[in-house]
């Protein structure tokens, strides 16, 4: 698999680290305990394109948001947060 880092260009998978689902947003002020539980623990497991956080750990240290089809592994988009 190769990921097109917006800073470094297309690089091999081994330079990157997948960390977590990027579809959740950190709750702001006034959030309830349940909002926090949802943010920290609750994830959808859909057979469809997903947003994922990847970290260019062996490269420029940029955090990236990939839109990736977990069935075909196709990467539709690589965005900066």
């Amino acid at each position: 698999m190769r990921i097109a880092c917006p800073y470094c260009g297309p690089r091999g998978l081994e330079e990157f680290l997948y960390t977590q689902d990027a579809s959740v947003t950190r709750p702001g002020a006034g959030a309830t305990g349940q909002d926090w539980v949802d943010y920290v623990y609750i994830r959808e497991n859909t057979k469809a394109p997903r947003k994922e956080f990847w970290y260019h750990s062996a490269g420029c240290h940029a955090w990236l948001i990939l839109t990736r089809d977990v069935v075909t592994h196709e990467i539709m988009a690589v965005d900066l947060p």
Binding site: M1, P10, L13, A31, Y39, A62, W63, H73, P81
Partner: protein
Amino acid sequence: MSGYRLPTGGHINRNIAIPFSFDGKAYTGFAGDTLASALLANGVKLVGRSFKYHRPRGIFTAGSEEPSALVELGQGACREPNTRATMVELFNGLEASSQNRFPSLKYDALAINNLFSPLLAAGFYYKTFMWPAKFWERVYEPLIRRAAGLGRNAGLPDPDFYEKTTEFCDVLVVGAGTDGLAVARAAAAQNGRVIVCDEYPAPSPPDLPANVTFLPRTTVFAIYDGGTYAALTHLPNASPRQRLVRVVAGRGIIATGALERPLVFANNDLPGVMLAGAVADYIIRYAVSPGRNILLALNNDDSAVLIPLLAAANIGIAGIVDTRRKSSDLVYRLAREADASVFAGATILAAQGRLGVKSAVIKQHNGTMLRLPCDTIATSGGFNPNIALTAQFDAKPVWNETICAFTAGMLPPCARIIGKAAGQGINAGIEPHWHSGFSPGKSFVDLQNDVTVKDIKLASQEGFCAVEQVKRYTTLGMAADQGKTANVNALAILAEARGISIPEAGTTRFRPPYTPVSIGALAGAHKGKHFKPVRLAPTHEFSQAQGAVAVESGLWLRAQYYPRAGEGWLAAATREVNTVRNAVGICDVTTLGKIDIQGPDAAKFLECVYTNSWASLPIGRVRYGLMLREDGFVMDDGTTARLGPEHFVMTTTTANAAKVMQHLEFCAQVLWKHLEVSLISVTDQWAQIAVAGPKSRATLAKIVDDPFDVSNDSCPYMACAGLTICGGTPARLFRLSFSGELAYEIAVPARYGNALAEKLMQAGAEFGIAPYGTEALGIMRIEKGHPAGPELNGQTTAHDLGLHKLLSTKKDFIGRTMAARPALTNPARPTLVGLRPEDGTTTLRAGSHLLPIGVPATAAHDQGHVTSAARSPTLGPIALALLADGPARLGEKIRVYDPVRQGDCIARVVSPVHYDPAGTRLHA
């Protein structure tokens, strides 16, 4: 002895004779030979014994699909089992031996298995060796493993060298046949960079454009996402021995051709039965005839090309058995020209012979039997497009009724399949003939795994009907060849047994690698000490010169202790602790992560990531900080110094340095991206040395440049400053103490690490200075009750570690809400305490369980565990522990129970700060 070298022809160099040996006997081949062609040329037909029945086996193909001719190469540590003789290029002094036979290839004792074959049918061990059940592991399995199997592992570390490379190209062509080369030339004309791989050792084709790289002996064995292909280059008898090439290609062209499938008849595994295409290959490429009287059995027109080849080489043709109801005009014409007889509508029933083919029995179209003497049977059941690479990519093959073969389904992105691999120009006039009936004698479908027509039928009868079940029950299509010559025949036989069509039977899943890849090639140079990098502390040379014993700490190599003559680790560490407690010691603390944090919002940023307050930290001061994960558990701790209004330097634990950096980057780039802050790891840029002990100030005073003042007034506890030392060397000084003594950490650019250590040793010589290692460091931090790795284990909260006062209530920070969950603040949670043995002498061990006194030692009574333990030079055995409701139980007695190492003693619960609880020494 039937094979022989033809007087002319072949892509071999007859001027270069190459001596080699097989089973200890010397032979000679020519440059350009494979082991298989050279053996055939020397008349060797019998090359091995089969997996289960120990039946004699010969050379079946001329390529990587070889199921039968597996040999061991080399000796000792270099011994390589299960090597396909068809793929081994002959080299001077090559030593090969046959496998799976005892005492010799010709007289194999276990050939008796063949007579017991009714017991050894598919799934035999599941049925036969059922009782008594406990015999399975100790008796049956070892026996079966000795009797069945292929080559022997060398059992020694592989002495060979392997390497890995990455290549980039616009177009990768897999297969350098006519179609592949044509596409490569066309692609090269578009000015792209082209790579052509071929698994055979052919020389580079003439006139290839300069932008085409030709990689012979290179098998593309897998396709991965994003146009990444894995290939393995064999470098015969050279170092490196194999090269793993990762090819990143814009487009992939799969021109892998087609693989012939055999006809299936009784004893079709006898040496001398070969694929028709292989016979042609041996004649054309190596000028070797596998026999003197060859019977051709076919069901298609493709393999008829063998007829004129045999005739031209003056090789005897025993006959042409065409299983089709009507043979084709082509076959008749070629046979007539070759003066050979055609048996149209006939079936080949059996091969006959003991260690090799002597004759064949055929059933003619009118039902009469005929025995045809021959020494070789060339069979062709048609061709299978070689679609393994595409099918690996989770694309199910599609059955094509016209050519009676599976073709590629959906292709991987940016890949194309062409030529025979795409099913073009193969199987002209084919009329399928999947097997010659369930006749007496074994008809093999999979030669490598000894799977017969009967086995497949049996599996189906016993309910293992799905193709994946048949594979697992019979071992069909497994092992080194992955059923390249077997699978489609097997599917057809399964379909027939179940009364369904071949596409309904389906195919098993294709997985990489296409051909075997040695683990050594996948590892490349990353083995032994090269498995991972070693990070050397900037005082490494100094500590080596001081006789330090090194210890691995993550990737780092740190000084563990500095033994003097006659000292063991404990004596050395005890002396080092005493030196620090009474005089002064130095210790390299560079390995702690150092993150430089700058920007107008740097203080705000720290407020977000640390639980405690930072905005109020004055310039020139250091503060201890606690970091949580978002789920409320402790992530890491460390000190952060404020060097300027917008400039901080954070330290992390050694183990979490990279993880904290990653976390901070996430906070800065994702969570609080509006904050103006930049981060960079400076762990490797600064050599940092702890100078600890009552004489540390006097020692440092001798190396700092004027006008810097190290007195307690100008440089109090938790102060920091930039300064110069030793006459102009830039440095940073932090008054920090991990040991609990008056102490400093001094940082200089990393290249001065060794020099600084030596300067400090000179400056402190009059006070009895000594370097100390991680053992002494560990003892002193346990004495002081500082949490470290064993306490920061990812399951502890700030409350557990007694650090809850650091949880600010005035701001948001990572983990704040979740850390406040009732279960995480429950006082009954195991909480940090100190332990001292009641008798003052019994050693406490980390990992011991804590139990109330007088209750059974069961998990239900478990109240916590010892996290860290040490033998303090001043206090004797001490420990840190996580004990339920710990702080409320100071003074209680508790049982420290370690059943694994027979530890069982009574300890008293004390404060985790064993040494100088008031902290007067570090404020001195």
